[in-house]
Structure formats: structure tokens, C-alpha cells
Symmetry: C2
Subunit: 524 residues, 2 copies
């Protein structure tokens, strides 16, 4: 990829900035060839990969190096785009929102600073991946389980900061961040919570600060570069039971939600419950051409044949319980009784006890995997995917409404419908996976039109997304219109105060610093 | 109390400001007589009540009125000190940190805007008290339980914002705030989280925003006046079981913590576990003179006599379980087995089932009470209390260390020792109640010296407080010294950006706006 300079930065100033960065991290860790830029572009980009082009990447290894780079970026006015490991697949991977930003790759900051088996937490640098932490914990035989997202090759801290979701009881990973260290946009170093007292041993244990609590202000945020954070982990249970139901019909989602949500809210179900549609079961078995060899969305009649052929329900509900066997058993009986009111087929049951082997692909037991990435192969060719991810209240009324709306829009665009709902308590995250062949421009164009329509129609109905791809960060921020976009004004005021030159991740989640507000595009 | 003007405000400007406030809320709701000032002073003040004097109070009833008052306060440069109901007992009640601030009393904003029985949350204005919400829920027969603090006459939202603690599974109330509306220091109105989209029904359900999440930045904070907030409530359980143990010796706290904390972290115990020392049982029975009629702290030999006489342990552990009877029973058996390793006496057991009456004083079943306030009578005379409240990791090592340190300092000051630990998961909140007779200057002076010593010795050992009385907000902020007080710098930078005239709660938790930084006193 050819060099695109940051706005209003001359080639000479840009070269001087890179030279200065080299002085901090060494020549090897400033990467600015065409191949380097390719490596930091969006591998799944819905469109040409140079739509969100990085100008270079710099990879510091220490907090002091991050501070030095940030200070130089202020001096040379070169915007930085920090990524933990750059694996934000479907949402832009490592690519920056503002063309010409220098990606700050934190992948070399990959130290596991602490794992406390008793108090059940870890202190991690942002470059620590789920696989790294998992291997460490297994190697050291530490009785803790991870909460891993669908695709586990990203950063533990990065995932939590981006509001990622796992499938154990610790599912809303951002809720289990506790105590953050961040380099501020002008290079100062702050620790949140009790970490603001040097060596306070409760830093990563107590979730509030004295005065305002800032941890989550650094999530989905361009207010600081998180250089370490505490993450609560789940004590390894003594036993676990999985119940698994095939739910026959699409419309059954109504009773499924109204049965499971109250049990989740009441704490009978601890797990973050993932409910994928039938596509979830087909994706690992082959590409779409194995199931439907014509263009356009798989028609409903063929879907029904496939369900019969593969013995699948329209939805798949798996519930996992964790803990002492007696408690697990008591909880499972309550849930089975509630499900039985609607579905006479009993669930498949699968017990696990301490010492038993753990399935290598079992997300719900905290094992990282990249198996779900196979969905990128669904359409054939150089596949990519984007996720359309609105949040709705956990009731049948809202879930069915959301399902019907998305389904119709996606059908209208003749795209395969692959929905899932994750029940996190009082809300459900609806993820609609949209797959495309990056080399088919008409497919990509269609997906983009579809994505626009999904955002605007969903907003019209009153619902919002909880994360989105680079290309739609502004349109989604635009949907937050209360009091003439008061939240955006608030974000911008804080941003400008902390980052007067606007060098840190301009445009992240639609928050633009003054210095680049002209680049934000048209606003409502 | 005589009028103390805000810094650098002339009598004429002050009168003009009050007149302008009257234009917004009416004459009746601007209160500026000596008696009014008395009413908004600290009724438990450890020292003269005019040490933290309000100049007046103003009581808006609507969001628009709050906005108008805030704008006028900017115009007239009169600092405001917002309180929800002003019942922050032991921490300053309604009194302001900066002398001459106008208390903004939000007690008239007391609407219960929404209670959703299924999704288990309420939307409340700040003036709604625990008793108000409790009565509403009982009257309407809504199957939800509250999480109430020791003394329940304060505001639900105010308590959560001040990091208050309850004694059900929802104990860390700030963790259950979801979706806030706040008037910013210059009068703009912002909604956090999904509420930034108008009428989004998931506002009070999903705990993150798109972009940075701000909810807890408005806790213990002077960045906005919270005018409404969502609060998650606990679904009423079908049954509940209380286990109660008298724990014989002081040093037994070590095994108690090491037994209970892992079960709490693992989720076998859901409740926020409150472990008071023996004083908790004596306080409702009489004043100290009924148990010890000499001055100075009750000596250890007399303590041992009292424990024998009243059949008390040094500590009292009550654990409550909530939910389906089968699940409750299974969990209780696990906990009883763990406790039996250390204490052969079985616990007292007390079952409750749906429909049974609920004890009017049972905090652990979500009933608000002010019974624990009786401790103010302990010393006789016009009693007051302050709480010294450090947070420590939930292990015997840290808890015993903290206990011994506080105990020695308190004994050295010849004051009765009334400690409790609340186990909230990975941490324990240690509250040391310090009672005094407000009319005995030498008692008050001793308590102040004691409080200074507690803060500095505890900080030296590496631990911090999670809240404190007005008079010690600066010394406690001073203990957060990491990177030359980086957190304070950060707080001040944000504060100055949002509140250029510094009118909102200057000095709150040691965060001072530029306009009043000279009033902050000497800083380390």
C-alpha cells in the first residue's frame, strides 16, 4: 500500500517523526514500507483495503517508550492509532479510522505481570493474547478459567476495552476490568482506582476509585493508551454441566428469551448465554456452495431441508452451569423444568468434573479458539465478515422485533441471514454476521448498502449498536442524538482538554478532536 | 448559623444570585436564614458545625430548573454543592466542602419514574429515598428487593453514587447503576450509555456506552448533577436461608476471611457479607455507660466479660442465601461444610419462603431501617459518628494486618473499637466506627487526631479509603501519590474543561477546580 500522509503533515515532517520514533524503539520497530502498511490494513475490509490506510506502524515495548512516542507524536502532530494486537476482526482489525495515522502496535508489550490464583485475577499488558494467557495458566496449573470471545487470537485487554463478550459467567469482559494504567494523550501516566496509590494491593480488586471512577472511560476510547490492566478471572469450577437443546422454529425465540432471561437475571443461570441460529452449525461443515449452489440468499424452503437433513433446530441453546456438583444439579433442574413448559424434548446433558479433559474448542469452558473464523470462508474467495451488533432489552417483544427487522432488511439485500443473540442479563446483544467475498465488488457494494440500511432502520426503531466497523463509526455516533448530540459534545470537550493536538486515535467511535474535526465528514 | 459568603463573592452579588435563583424555583425554595443554614450543616460534625458552612440552599424540582440554577451559578460565580437528600451521615451529611457554597438540595426531585418488574430495574430521581422506593414496591406488590445500606434514610441514587454498600447480592450499589442523566457544570444535559439515543429502551439495561462509558465518572464526582439514573434491583427470591455463627475469638477473623472469600469469589455465596465485631450486638441494647461506666476505651477484660454475659462471639457472621429452595440448600451445605472445618458449633438456621412475613429490620432482605443509627447514642450526649473506611484485599493476611493496625491506633487514642468487614468479593471494606459526643471538645479533638493518624498510618502501609468525611477529603486525596499525584492532575484537567468557573462542588473528594484551587489547602 502506497503511503498516505496524515492530514496537514508534510513528507519531511513525517520522515522526521519516524526518525524520532526510531530513536525511541529502534529502527526495527518503526515499519513504513508498502508491505508494512498492507500488514496493518483491514484484512476483511468491505472495500479497497486502502480506504482506512495507516501511514506506518511503531511498536514500543515499555511504558516509557509509549510515553516517549506519544510526546513525539504531539511534537510532530502525527496522529497515532493504538491497537493491542490488531485483531479486531470484523470491526477494522488494526487499521486506523483517520487515513495516514501511525498504528501504535502494542503487541510487544506482552508480559503477564501477575496471576493471583486465590483472588482470581491477572494483571496484563495489552499485547497478551487469549492463547498466551491460556497457555500460561495451563502450564503453571493455575485453577482459573478465561472468558474468551468467539475468535480468540486477539488481546485479552483489547477485547475487554472494545466491549467484547465471552461465554462463561464472566461474559461481559469490560465489567471485569479492574484498575487500569494509561498513558494520556500528552504523555502523562495515570493509574485508575486504588492504583492511584503506589503499590496499593487492592488496585485490581476494588472496582471504584476515590473520586470519579475512570476505568471504562478508557474503553472504546481515545483518551489514553492502556498499558496494563487488571482482569478478574473465574475460579476453575469443581464440576460443570452443559444442557443443549435444538429449538425447532424461528418464532420459538420468543419463549426461549422469556424463559431464559428471568433465570439469568435471577442468577439461576450464571453464564452469558449464546443463542446462534442454524448457520452456526453449518459453517464448520463447509462453504455455502456445499449447501446451496445458486447466487442470492439461501431460500427458506432450502433452509427447512437443511434443518431436517442435519437434524438441526432453527436455534441452538446451550447452557452451561459451573460450580459444586450439588449446586449445578439444583440449578439445572430449575432450568430444565422451565424449558419443559415449552419443549417436551429433554436436553442433551454433558457433565464435566475436575480432572476430565476439556474440549479444545469449548469457548464456554474458557478455551480460546479461532474455529468460528471459518465463517469467513462461507461465501468462498477471499472472505470477510462484518458484524451488525445492536443491543435490545431481554424480552421477546424487543428480541422478536429486532429479529424481524434485521431479517427483512438482510433478505431485501439477498444476503444469507446468520443471527445470534447473547443474553447478558437484562439485555441481549444481537450479532448479525454479514459475509462477503472481498474480490467481488458488487457483493461488497451490496453489503455496504445493507449495513447503512441496518443502522438507520434500527436507529429509527430506537435501538443502538454497541460497537461497529471503522467505516460506520461516525454514522453510528450520529444515531446518538439525545439533546442535539449532547454525548458527542461531552466526549469532544473531554477529548480536547486531554488531547489538545488531537493525536490519539482521532475519530475512534466517532469522537473527533478539534484538530481533525473537519475530517469527521458530514454530521447530523 | 451566620452567613459565610462564597470566596470572592460580594454580599451584593450573593443577594443578586439568590434573587435570580428565586426567579427559577420560587421564593420558598431558596433558603438563606440562619436556621436554614443550620439545617444544611453537618449534624454529626466532629467540631463546630460552622466549619463547613453552607451560605444557603436552593431546591429545584425539575431538570430544567437544575439547568437554570447551574447556569445562574456560573453567571454569579456562586459555587453549588448538590446533595440528593443530604443524609451522607458520618461523611458530612448535607454540608459543603467549600465554605459558603450554596447547597443544591435535590430532595424535591423525588419521582419514581419507572419500575420494571420483569427486567428488574427502576429509574429514579435523586430525591427518592430507600423508604420511598420500598413503600412503592410494597404498595404495588412488585416482586423486587432493594439493596439498602446500614442507615436507610438517604437517597437510593445518592448512596450508589457515593459508593455505598448494601447487604444483599447487589451490595456494591454503584455497580448496579446503569444509565445516568446529568446536568453538566455549564448547564448542558447529557445522558450516558444507550440513553444518548433518545428513548432507547435498553438505556438502563446495557452497562456500556458507545465510545467511552461515563456512568461512574459521575460517582463521588463534581462533574455533573445527576438528575436521574437507572438502578438494577434484585428479583424477589422464592426462598431464603440465613445461617448465623457467633465466632469466638478476635483472631478467628483470619480463618473466617479465608473460608468465606473464596466461596464469595466463586459465587457459592452471592451476598455481600457483613461481619461486625461484638459492638454491633451491644449498640442496640444500650449506651456505653450501661456496659462500662468509666472514661476511656472499654478494656479487654471487660470485653471478655460482656461476650460471656451476652453469649456473643467476638465476630458475628450471618450469611443469607436467596433463590429456589433446592439451590439455596445446596449452596448452604457447601458453606456449612467449609465452616465446620474451623468451628464445630453449627449455625443457627432461619428459612424464609415467599409469603412469609419479613422482619422490619432485616437489611439483608432489602428492608430499609435506621436502627444502626443508634450507635450515635453510644457515647451519650449529642452523639456523632465518623467512619474510617479503608479497602483491603480479601485475604487473612491483609484483613488481619488492617485490623491490628487500626485496633492499635484506636486503642492508643483510648477510643472504643467497633470494626466491621464487608466482603464484597475480592476485597473487603473495613469500616471503623468512631463515636463521640459533639459537646465534649476534648473528645472531638481526640477523634480528629485519631482520624489523621488512621489515614496516614494506613496509607503508609499501602491501603486507601474508599470514602471519607468532608474534613479529610484533601488528606485522603493526598494519599493517592502515584506518579506525583497523576490522578489528581487528571481529575483537575477534566474538571477545568467541563467547569471553567468551578461552580460545581469544588473540593469534592479532593478535586478542586482552578477557580478555587487556592482554597484546597497545603498539598503534598
Amino acid at each position: 500500500m502506497k503511503l498516505v500522509l496524515p492530514p496537514r503533515v508534510s513528507p519531511a515532517r513525517f520522515s522526521a517523526a519516524l526518525k524520532a520514533f526510531e530513536g525511541v524503539v529502534g529502527k526495527d520497530w518503526v515499519m513504513a514500507t508498502d508491505a508494512d502498511r498492507d500488514a496493518y490494513s483491514d484484512v476483511y475490509a468491505p472495500g479497497p483495503k486502502d480506504e482506512w490506510p495507516p501511514s506506518a506502524a511503531v511498536a514500543p515495548q515499555t511504558v516509557e517508550e509509549v510515553q516517549a512516542i506519544v510526546r513525539l507524536a504531539n511534537e510532530y502532530r502525527t496522529p497515532l492509532w493504538p491497537v493491542s494486537r490488531g485483531k479486531n476482526l470484523g470491526y477494522g482489525t488494526a487499521a486506523p479510522r483517520l487515513p495516514g495515522s501511525v498504528v501504535m502496535d502494542l503487541g510487544r508489550m506482552n508480559r503477564i505481570l501477575e496471576v493471583d490464583p486465590k483472588l482470581a485475577y491477572a494483571v496484563l499488558e495489552p499485547g497478551v493474547g487469549f492463547f498466551d494467557l491460556y497457555e500460561h495458566i495451563r502450564r503453571e496449573n493455575i485453577p482459573l478459567w478465561l472468558s474468551v470471545p468467539g475468535n480468540g487470537w486477539g488481546s485479552v485487554i483489547g477485547n475487554a476495552l472494545e466491549h467484547g463478550i465471552g461465554y462463561t459467567p464472566y461474559g461481559l469482559n469490560g465489567r471485569h476490568l479492574c484498575g487500569i494504567e494509561a498513558v494520556l494523550p500528552q504523555g502523562d501516566l495515570v493509574r485508575t482506582g486504588l492504583g492511584a496509590m503506589k503499590d496499593n494491593p487492592a488496585w485490581h480488586l476494588f472496582p471504584f476509585g476515590y473520586g470519579p471512577t475512570w476505568d471504562l472511560a478508557f474503553s472504546q476510547s481515545n483518551l489514553g493508551v492502556v498499558t496494563k490492566a487488571g482482569m478478574w478471572l473465574m475460579p476453575a469450577p469443581r464440576s460443570s454441566l452443559e444442557l443443549s437443546w435444538q429449538i425447532p422454529r424461528e418464532e420459538d425465540i420468543a419463549w426461549v428469551i422469556d424463559t431464559i432471561a428471568p433465570l439469568k437475571i435471577a442468577g439461576v443461570i450464571d453464564q452469558n448465554v449464546f443463542i446462534p441460529s442454524w448457520m452456526g452449525a453449518l459453517v464448520p461443515l463447509g462453504n455455502r456452495q456445499d449447501f446451496w449452489d445458486k447466487p442470492g440468499a439461501i431460500p427458506e424452503s432450502r433452509v427447512q431441508e437443511l434443518l431436517k437433513q442435519y437434524n438441526l433446530g432453527y436455534w441452538h441453546v446451550t447452557l452451561r452451569f459451573y460450580g459444586e456438583e450439588s449446586v449445578v444439579r439444583a440449578k439445572a433442574e430449575v432450568v430444565k423444568g422451565a424449558m419443559r413448559q415449552h419443549l417436551s424434548t429433554p436436553p442433551q446433558e454433558s457433565w464435566w468434573h475436575e480432572g476430565d479433559p476439556i474440549d479444545n474448542y469449548d469457548l464456554t469452558m474458557g478455551v480460546p479458539t479461532v474455529m468460528p473464523l471459518q465463517m469467513s470462508d462461507w461465501v468462498g474467495g477471499r472472505g470477510g465478515h462484518m458484524g451488525f451488533s445492536p443491543v435490545v432489552p431481554a424480552t421477546s417483544e424487543h428480541v422478536v422485533g429486532q429479529l424481524k427487522r434485521s431479517r427483512k432488511i438482510i433478505a431485501d439485500h439477498d444476503v444469507d441471514f446468520y443471527a445470534s443473540f447473547t443474553l447478558g442479563g437484562r439485555f441481549a446483544n444481537n450479532v448479525n454476521m454479514l459475509m462477503y467475498d472481498r474480490d467481488k465488488p458488487e457483493q461488497v457494494a451490496n453489503i455496504r448498502k445493507l449495513f447503512d440500511a441496518l443502522i438507520s432502520e434500527t436507529a429509527k426503531a430506537g435501538y443502538a449498536e454497541y460497537r461497529t466497523h471503522l467505516g460506520w463509526m461516525d454514522p453510528v455516533m450520529d444515531t446518538f442524538g439525545f439533546n442535539d448530540h449532547a454525548l458527542r459534545r461531552f466526549n469532544e470537550k473531554v477529548k480536547d482538554a486531554l488531547d489538545p493536538h488531537g493525536i490519539l486515535a482521532p475519530g475512534k467511535q466517532g469522537v473527533w478532536p478539534k484538530a481533525y474535526r473537519a475530517e469527521a465528514g458530514v454530521r447530523s
